[in-house]
Amino acid sequence: MTDNDEQLLKTALYDLHVELGGKMVPFAGYSMPVQYPMGIMEEHKHTRHQAGLFDVSHMGQVRISGDNAALALERLMPVDVVNLGEMKQRYALFTNEKGGVMDDLMVTNAGDYLFLVVNAACKEQDISHLHQHLGDDCEIEVLEDYALLALQGPEAGAVMARLAPKSQDMVFMTAAQIDIDGVECFVTRSGYTGEDGFEISVPNKQAEQLARTLLVQPEVEPVGLGARDSLRLEAGLCLYGHDLDTETTPVESTLLWALSKSRRADGERPGGYPGDDIIMSQITDGVSRKRVGLKAQGRMPVREGAVLVDADDQEVGVVTSGGFGPTVEGPVAMGYVKTDYIAIDTVLFAMVRDKKVEVTVSKMPFVEQRYYRG
């Protein structure tokens, strides 16, 4: 074992991953299972057909409380937090002064506090960002001793209903404090696969017990980070650090749906977040490049970093995420292209190992989203 491995952090489920035969790899400072013996392809398909259990405890969980916590948090994001109903969840973005994205996250109004889930690789930055801008007004608590499990797939609802009947009242992007087979958990009905599913925040001490309870359900198999990536890619969801970064605005990322009406130029609380002038003028005036979905013929995956050219070999963009979609049964990718080339069915070429591979601008998600909306 090298020094590097020894420094890696472990989640509360580390021993369980090893016991299940998980192939452990370094990810955002943690030792995480990229796959189990079933393999990425089968884990992916199992999640689409039944239910997969993911350990996402490396992500940051933060509670923000205070009389005006929602209004304070709005200073950091182009998102309506003030009118986010109790036990409702919303996708959000921390922006920077250039209108770029520092991180994408989930915000839940848990009643007494706001519950945030941020990316593992960004969590230290995000926490200091929160302290710097909200520290005077709010209490910020990092939930170091909580694990986060995701149960995803069309059978996730049936599995949860069996163990926690209260979960049946939940619809997509809502939250509840729920007892799952004797373990008190904070649950949201959301995820990162395009499927129905739940994310479950549970104290570290009870995480393994809960994971084992879920894994003995006949529909559930453990799924690693490899399939998590191929599932989110097919679902057209952005991966921070790849499809989103500090140099790219949410308007360019075609995340206009995430920019709340009330925070836009003609809204009740316009602007007032980092980069507001740039983002609001881009909403009005447009942008020169945008994120699109890409599909290729044949089976050869087009991966991150591949340059996109037009028929005349003029560079028009770049691939930011790409791979083989096990459900699509073919290569899928997303990338940024000049706005002249964003129309669906536009034919472009990805440069893969000095060869031109034909790709077609395609509608995302690549698979139908199957969220439970009641």
């Binding site: 089968e42 791979g323 083989f324």
Partner: protein
């Protein structure tokens, strides 16, 4: 008579008396890579040097290179892998072979490990 040899990079070589050799990846390699989705092979007639990256092996997650364990001219490729890369997962030392090469330097075979040394190296 044929001789079987292995590299540190988990390729195998079966050299024949007629100066040709088959090349593929080991069972350990295919297991590490996981289910393969695409394999890009070189063109027949290509002259390659030992150490050249001649083929690309794509799994769901990543792309890896097949490094030539020996030098020579590619005289045949396994066309079956184009439609069915899973052959490498199922039978890496048999139906999942990658390519056949006409050796330009027989002495390179001496640098390969025998099966016992290769297996020991995995432990």
């Amino acid at each position: 008579m044929s001789t079987l040899g292995f590299t540190d990079d988990h390729e195998w070589v079966v050299a024949e008396d007629d100066g040709t050799a088959l090349v593929g990846i080991t069972d350990y390699a295919q297991e590490q890579l996981g289910e393969l989705v695409y394999i890009e092979l070189p063109e027949v007639g290509t002259e390659v040097e030992k150490g050249d990256a001649v083929a690309v092996i794509e799994s769901v997650k990543s792309a890896s290179d097949l490094m030539m364990p020996v030098s020579g001219e590619i005289i045949e490729i396994n066309d079956e892998l184009d439609g069915d890369p899973g052959k490498v997962n199922e039978d890496p030392m048999g139906a999942g072979w990658f390519l056949k090469v006409k050796l330009s330097d027989d002495s390179e075979l001496d640098d390969l490990m025998d099966e016992v040394s290769y297996q020991e190296g995995l432990e």
